[in-house]
């Protein structure tokens, strides 16, 4: 581990020499662990459903749970989380229910966004989870919007925005960092450097020494952290959020991690990267490491782990079974949700649709 990369627990789950473990109570540590494991198991289950043709698409986060959940844990409930598309774990930690998540995957009648988005494009206004915005990098400037709105109205809220290493090559990234620097926006830019942007490796994504160093050009803070160390991620994010809340401006966090699985269910990484590379990173797995840490600290045991696995499995099966039984949203919802008042051309289409449906019934 380089001196400039923040880290607290090593790959064997031991506290690194000289590192200070943040003060987190046992219950919260277990909550973190549970969220990470849930994230992993949900991904596995849902990818299987996709292969069986039961959902159309899926985006997993295997290998990145430490970065995603550690950072979300550092934020307060009043702060906004602005996801990329791989941060279901952050949403779960916030309290976004597995039921809501699964209903969205199936796009069924209970789906809160009524089948209007691809699977894994969830949102929850109540939980301050912005809508997943998958055009790469487009969510990054949104964080300035949330952050600066809070700042101008005197609310002590911070926006945490997630994106991948690939997104740093988009103009939106530069625009957002620049504005955040100039206006001291209360924003945390969280870059999951998972080494790949679909099939494009990190080596050809930038000529900069690191992603974090880019912060310097915009006059904001930049830090690198071991993204597979949930505690270190928590620590640097908490510090960044604290600075933002105090009016000291934005931070760019580069969490060094690895996308263990395919980019999405439509991708096949065997076409562009070696199994050896994956194997190396699997040894640094964030969940295995954190489990070892918990056991080492006397907070956890194999028996408890087994019980938890059983619980999670049951929870996931229940959610899937229920979600799959529900039909699609009412057809008329197709015309709703965009305009507050339905304009004439949509009303006409709706009327025509109703007429057609009526005549088919006859």
């Amino acid at each position: 581990m380089s001196d400039t990369i923040a880290g607290i627990i090593d790959e064997k789950g031991k506290v690194r020499s000289g590192a200070v473990v943040p003060e987190i109570g046992r219950d919260d540590l277990i909550r973190l662990y549970r969220a990470m494991l849930l994230n992993r198991r949900v991904d596995e289950r849902m990818l299987t459903l996709q292969r069986q043709g039961r959902i159309s698409f899926y985006v997993g986060a295997a290998g990145e749970e430490g970065a995603i959940i550690g950072s979300a844990f550092a934020m307060q409930d009043k702060d906004w989380l602005i996801p990329c598309y791989r941060e279901a774990g952050a949403a779960f930690l916030r309290g976004y229910s597995l039921t809501d998540f699964t209903n969205q995957l199936f796009g069924n009648s209970e789906d809160k966004i009524r089948g209007k988005q691809m699977p894994c494009h969830w949102a929850s206004r109540e939980l301050r989870l912005a809508s997943v915005s998958s055009p790469v990098g487009s969510q990054i400037p949104h964080a300035n919007g949330f952050g600066l709105a809070a700042k101008f109205t005197g609310r002590k809220e911070v926006a945490l925005v997630y994106f991948g290493d690939g997104a740093t090559s988009e103009g939106d990234f530069h625009v957002a960092c620049n504005i955040a620097g100039v206006y001291k926006a209360p924003v945390v830019f969280f870059c999951r450097n998972n080494q790949w942007a679909i099939s494009v490796p990190v080596e050809v994504q930038t000529a900069s020494e690191t992603f974090a160093i880019k912060a310097k050009a915009y006059g904001i803070e930049g830090v690198q952290v071991d993204g597979n160390d949930v505690l270190a991620v928590f620590q640097v994010t908490a510090e960044a959020a604290e600075r933002a809340r105090k009016g000291e401006g934005a931070t760019l966090i580069e969490a060094i991690t690895y996308r263990q699985g395919a980019h999405t269910s439509s991708d096949d990484p065997r076409a562009y990267r070696s199994e050896d590379e994956v194997a190396v990173w699997k040894k640094k797995d964030p969940i295995d490491r954190f489990r070892l840490f918990l056991v080492d600290q006397g907070h956890w045991s194999a028996g408890q782990d087994k019980k938890l696995e059983g619980e999670l499995n049951e929870e996931i099966q229940t959610a899937v079974r229920a979600a799959e039984k529900l039909g699609p949203p009412d057809i008329k919802t197709v015309f709703e949700d965009v305009f507050e008042e339905m304009p004439w051309h949509l009303r006409e289409q709706l009327d025509e649709l109703n007429e057609t449906l009526d005549s088919e019934v006859e």
Partner: protein
Amino acid sequence: MAYEFKLPDIGEGVVEGEIVHWLVATGDTVDEDQPMVEVMTDKATVEIPSPVKGTVTKTVGGEGDIIAVGATLVVIDVGEMGSADIPEPKYAKGAGGPADESRKAGAPAKKAGGGGGALATPAVRNVARTRGIDLSKVTGSGPGGRITKDDLDQFVKTDAVAAAVGQAEPEASIERIPYRGLRRKIGAHLSLSKRSAVHYTYVEEVDVTSLVELRDSLRVRGYDHLNYLPFVLKAVVAGLKKFPLVNSTLDEEKEEILLKKVYHLGIATATEQGLLVPVVRDVDKKSLLQLSSDIERLIAGARDGKSKLEDLKGSTFTVTSLGRMGGLVATPVINYPEVAILGVHRIEKRPVVRENAVVIRDMMNLSLSADHRVVDGWVAAEFIHYVMRFLESPGLLLLSGEE
């Protein structure tokens, strides 16, 4: 109960998949989520897990076979399990589903004007309504059979009655034949050519009166198998030697043009299965009689389906001759990755002007398609004119190679 597992859309908008490897066989028991088969799509190769537990009673297709999304892949006996317990994959409907249906529907509409089942935007519907067009009678050319405004214009132009009859053609009057095997290979090869090469065609008329006389006199002397093609090949080789760019290929990746120092000429040959191109090797080193017997052997082989693989490979330039049918002009498609192809048309007597008088001569047209990336129009013209010299004065062939 027999549960039919259909190939789902495992990418975003995938329509078919190739079976790479079966992981189960008839008679095997499978658990829920147990991988059954590896399937490759244009996006990824993935293992497909079973959604149910049971015994495999049938697997459809062998390794290498292409299966359409929505087609049954595996049948599993799930025993006592009722259909309520079985998940119903929603994404295993033929991706072309809606489009196919609308094409098949024939007479989709139930209502005039509004055109119930017909696909059209409100603007188009409005136009149809004001012009009194029944949308159900209009064939849509847009995505998924959507009717566009152009389609309405077209509909009004063509005889509406005829259009309606044409559209209502019952399935029984159509014979569907599979687009497979050689047909599909020809299609793929020629589309690649059209996509890659910048085609243009250059046409010239050649006076072959002397060639006809020469051949006739040889025939009289017992060489009755000899036709014109060996002469054409010889003339072409003379041209290729003079204009090496015409006997080349373009390696786009390495950004190099490869000039071929061998003269293997493909002969486009119509067979019952479709077009084949047997290759006459080393045309420059062979006599007219050798060429004649090579051509005869290769064409017969292709027609009888007995071509050896090496007979069909390695051409550096191709000649396509339609024989007596011959036509006047063609725009031949280059036998990619070659850069040019010569179409040879029928010989016929035509009135032409010689020394201010109309005379009757044996005339023949040549259509050369070339890839403009490598062969500019000027080069093509020079090449053809050079080739023409040998066809006009076949005696020159005796000298070729000595210039």
